[in-house]
């Protein structure tokens, strides 16, 4: 299954969520999206957005500088 990557570095809440939402709306069920952010709030917000909209978080990791989240688009 294909995986799409988007870099949302420097964007601050809620722009990473909006960009993630807009990208997911263009994708098909089952596709995976890897999101790179620098706003630490994304570590909470993107998984919440994914949960309430029926998408699955596959991984969410934070380093000193980055948050990387991988999700699978729901049906």
């Amino acid at each position: 299954m294909s995986r799409i990557k988007i870099d949302l570095s420097r964007m601050l809440c809620p722009m990473p969520v909006i960009k993630t939402q807009n990208q997911v709306n263009r994708m098909l069920s089952g596709q995976e999206l890897e999101i790179t952010c620098t706003d630490p709030g994304a570590l909470n917000d993107i998984p919440v957005w994914a949960r309430i909209n029926g998408h699955q978080i596959l991984a969410a990791n934070q380093t000193d500088d980055e948050v990387i989240i991988t999700l699978k688009v729901g049906g």
């Binding site: 420097r10 601050l12 809440c13 809620p14 909006i18 630490p40 709030g41 917000d45 309430i52």
Partner: protein, 364 residues
Amino acid sequence: MRSLSVEQLNLINSMANKHKAIALISGGLDSMLAVKVIQEQGIEVEGINFYTGFCVEGHTHAIRNQDKEKQKRNNALWVAEQLGIKLHIVDVIEEYKDVLINPKHGYGANMNPCLDCKIFMVNKAVDWIEEHHAQGFDFIITGEVIGQRPMSQLKAKMPIIAKQSGANDRLVRPLSAKNLEQTLPEREGWIVREKLYGFTGRSRKPQIELAKQFGFDDFATPAGGCCFLTDKSYSDKLTDLWQAKNAKEYELDDIMLLKVGRHVRPKANFKLIIARDSGECKFLEGYRKEFISIRALSHKGPMALVDGDIDEGDYDLAASIVARFGQGKFADEVELDINIPEQPSLQISTAPFANENMLQEWYL
């Protein structure tokens, strides 16, 4: 007349055509309660949240050190999760410019165009329903309470919002509905008016009580609303920005930078944005390719951006002001680096600007 129980209403709605509402979700308590009141009548609700660029939460706790320990959550998303509803977040940054720059109904105490803003957002919800007509949304709900806020929530303004937004009688305010004209969903029996509320005034007690009834014990209650434009300090900086540009215009970076740092305008042609902690330093470093930036080399000190058309003759003034906010403020001389995008950087040695010479009106 005997009223129907929630279970009976749910059953009736599930047997009849299921009606759906879209709710404007700010992340505060009122919109949360408004949704819950309508959900209790068996209506399916989804949320919509508009991002104007001036929303208080989010940015600040991603930037300042003092906010790092606060819970990093987007309140609108959190509310949606508590209510079990979908939330659509819509970027309206570009369209919102006209609302802020040319408010037909004017500004509030600061640069807040609250009435135009509410009309705009309800209108955007109307547009959203039309764009997503296949999903079958029937009406719009908001958490507006009559008299809660001085500009946009006066009783006389409620019909204006309904009319000028184009929502008309499809706009339901569940928390104040009993004090307003009947709406279409009430007349058609999609929702029961008796099960709506008649809250008025600035007191939050009825909302707190209702929250308790619903079992909500954690909710956001921002003192000045959820918008930077209601803040005097922020509004002053925005006014200064427009004066400096000689035009009422802005880009997203402009309004983001108004939220960050200490803003000092020693001359009409430029201002300094001086970081107040390491979090802000890191944030401002992200703008080094677009702005001239200044930082002390010989001492620890803050990152500063130069916003405006600074003359070379002003470099010493700018550098000396930045020097006074660092650890070299009592030194005879501080060496600073002036980074100019796409040009070789300059090193300058200067005495820190004397505190007594800093004019109060320079601080924005």
